[in-house]
């Protein structure tokens, strides 16, 4: 620990108080980094240094980097052979947009923004032309209300500085650095992400959104999020955006860890619509104590390849886990998603509902696991995965694993794959709707059980987005 540590900490804290939009670097003006791709130990060190981190985190990063090098790529899942680890930026670029112009944004994306009715300023942000999207006035007072209740909601970098004990009580414990190759990568180079702590008994009634829908901290390549919900508390966190996000960063590897204490409840909603050059490989896991509830609502619309299996470890008696997942795989996309529920204790219950759609040659795979360990008496689980394949070029797979090591349990799993029923189409058309309208209605009806769990703006946009995709696909 450097002699300068206390002083540095102070000035960093001050900095946070003033302007919460920093990327997590102490003083960007001082450090000029030339664009440099690839990853090595030096870069990992540099990231830590630029963030003025304590030795504990620096060592954590370095150990993680070693593990990343050792671990092999997964032999299952989507095709990751085209990821070139040496051709990626591993740290955040300068805050100013590097001269990207509105003209560089692909036309289809611009068209989608128009059709969704997105205001120009937001369009520019989503298109990567503007660096920040702010709504300071509104969200400033919201943050104050939260703080008054004892709720902590800030960026991960800030949290590490301000609340190190709280952070380290769970950081890297729910998703250990050796968990898988991409968790190791994230553990080495993470930057940005959210930290939330909800005190005992506090119920946050407004969904916490990553700073009013969009915030750079939560759209970085390697975000690290940690949410701690103390006994009897409740929080609903929402991230992402249905409108397509155009980014040149091709690898997104986030880690989300959630701790749900006794009798607490957490819902985490994600809608992801990265542009189709992105590899989206995410490790999300929640640890649930006695009678706690964890709900993952996961929407995968974009990216070239997504590999994401939100998990719930039902560690305490009577704990409950739910994973509601909707995936749309269009041209050139492979959505490999699903969920995992691991029952460790008695009377635990879980439910997974997965709805996926493949069209225009896309591939949608459900990959999931229900595991009931010995001793998880009276555990119950139900998994329903339905898939719609809209044309003959597309593909749908289901890879569920059900591992039961306790006899006093109940497990049910059902999956169906089909296309849009001709009778349904005819019925809707006989009521005056054109063929593509009718298709979109059936598709929207298909995913409705999941969509109705989304906050309103998302569900409206999601339906609209799907209608647009269907319009494009029918001649």
């Amino acid at each position: 620990m450097s002699r300068f540590a206390p002083i540095k900490e102070e000035s960093k804290k001050e900095k946070w108080e003033k302007s919460p939009y920093e990327y997590g670097f102490s003083s960007p003006e001082k450090h000029m980094f030339k664009a440099k791709r690839g990853l090595n130990e030096e870069i990992v060190r540099m990231i830590s240094t630029m963030k003025s981190e304590e030795e504990k985190m620096r060592n954590f990063r370095l150990e993680s980097y070693k593990i990343f090098l050792e671990k092999k790529m997964p032999t299952w899942g989507a095709d990751l052979s085209t990821i070139d680890f040496n051709n990626i930026f591993y740290y955040v670029k300068a805050t100013k947009s590097e001269g990207k112009k509105w003209g560089d944004v692909p036309k289809e994306i611009k068209d989608t923004y128009d059709k969704l009715g997105i205001p120009q300023a937001e369009k520019e942000y989503l298109g990567g032309v503007k660096a920040q999207y702010e709504s300071e006035v509104i969200y400033g007072s919201l943050l104050k209300k939260l703080r008054d209740k004892g709720i902590i909601f800030c960026g991960m970098d800030e949290a590490l500085v301000k609340y190190p004990d709280l952070v380290w009580s769970h950081f890297g414990k729910i998703v250990p650095k050796g968990d898988n190759k991409f968790a190791a990568l994230n553990s080495a180079v993470w930057s940005g992400g959210s930290f939330i702590y909800v005190p005992k008994g506090v119920k946050v009634d407004l969904p916490l959104q990553a700073y009013f829908r969009i915030n750079t901290q939560n759209m970085g390549q390697f975000e690290r999020t940690l949410i701690i919900v103390d006994e009897g508390a409740f929080v609903h966190y929402v991230e992402g955006c249905t409108a397509p996000i155009y980014t040149t960063d091709s690898l997104h590897s986030a880690v989300v860890e959630i701790w749900v204490a006794k009798n607490a409840r957490c819902r985490y909603t994600t809608i992801q619509n990265w542009s189709t050059n992105v590899y989206n490989l995410v490790t999300k896991r929640a640890w649930v104590e006695e009678k706690g509830i964890m709900e993952w609502v996961d929407g995968n619309l974009g990216s070239k390849i997504t590999m994401k299996y939100p998990s719930v470890i039902l560690a305490g008696k009577g704990a409950h886990g739910e994973i509601l997942s909707v995936a749309v795989a269009g041209k050139g996309q492979h959505q490999d998603a699903g969920g995992k529920c691991i029952h460790l204790a008695e009377n635990t219950t879980s439910r997974i509902i997965s709805k996926s759609i493949s069209l225009n040659g896309g591939r949608s795979s459900y990959r999931g696991m229900i595991q009931m360990n010995k001793g998880a008496k009276n555990a119950r689980s139900k998994v329903v995965c339905d898939a719609l394949i809209l044309d003959n070029e597309s593909r749908s797979d289901t890879y569920p694993v059900n591992k039961i090591m306790e006899s006093e349990v109940t497990l049910e799993h059902e999956a169906t794959v089909s296309k849009i029923g001709e009778e349904q189409l005819f019925y809707l058309m006989s009521r005056g709707f054109e063929e593509h309208e009718a298709e979109a209605m059936v598709v929207n009806g298909f995913i409705e059980p999941i969509v109705k769990e989304l906050p309103m703006e998302y569900s409206v946009e999601l339906n609209r987005l799907i209608s647009l995709q269907m319009e494009g696909s029918v001649g």
């Binding site: 809209l390 289901t398 799993h413 999956a415 794959v417």
Partner: protein, 142 residues
């Protein structure tokens, strides 16, 4: 044990049914694969297993529908009854579908003896042992 079935002639129809009891101390692995290559084919796979105390069962069932195999109907059902202590089962029903003119579904259920049924039979005079045996018989006959 691996069972591999291919439906490569148009109009073909296959029904596979397997019933088994995994005895105490046994460990059994079964994989069934049904591949649909031709159009207008129909395949139904039903696996019913009872795992006795100390038994272990690994069930894998794959339905694969190739591109061009249109108007296919494919069903897979894996049903496992776990009895007593230390019985374990893994059920992996997989689907790989590359054609959209299909109706494919699968179901897997792993459970224990229904207490209500047990009580009912015992209240008719059967001993617990007899009752469990009857339920197992009914399960396999269903």
């Amino acid at each position: 044990m691996r069972y591999f079935d291919v439906l490569d002639r148009m109009g073909q129809s296959k029904d596979i049914k397997k019933f088994l009891v995994v005895k105490s101390g046994e460990s059994i692995d079964i994989e069934t694969v049904m591949q649909f290559k031709a159009p207008k084919t129909r395949g139904n796979t039903l696996i019913k297993a009872v795992v006795m105390p100390g038994g272990k069962l690994n069930l894998k069932g794959v339905i694969k529908i190739d591109k061009g195999a249109e108007l296919v109907e494919a069903f897979l059902r894996q049903s496992v009854l776990l009895i007593g202590e230390n019985s374990m089962a893994t059920a992996i029903p997989e689907l790989e579908i590359e054609s959209n003119e299909v109706r494919a579904s699968h179901a897997a259920a792993i459970g224990r003896v229904d207490e209500e049924q047990l009580f009912y039979l015992m209240s008719r005079g059967l001993s617990q042992d007899e009752a469990v045996k009857s339920i197992i018989k009914a399960f396999l006959n269903e």
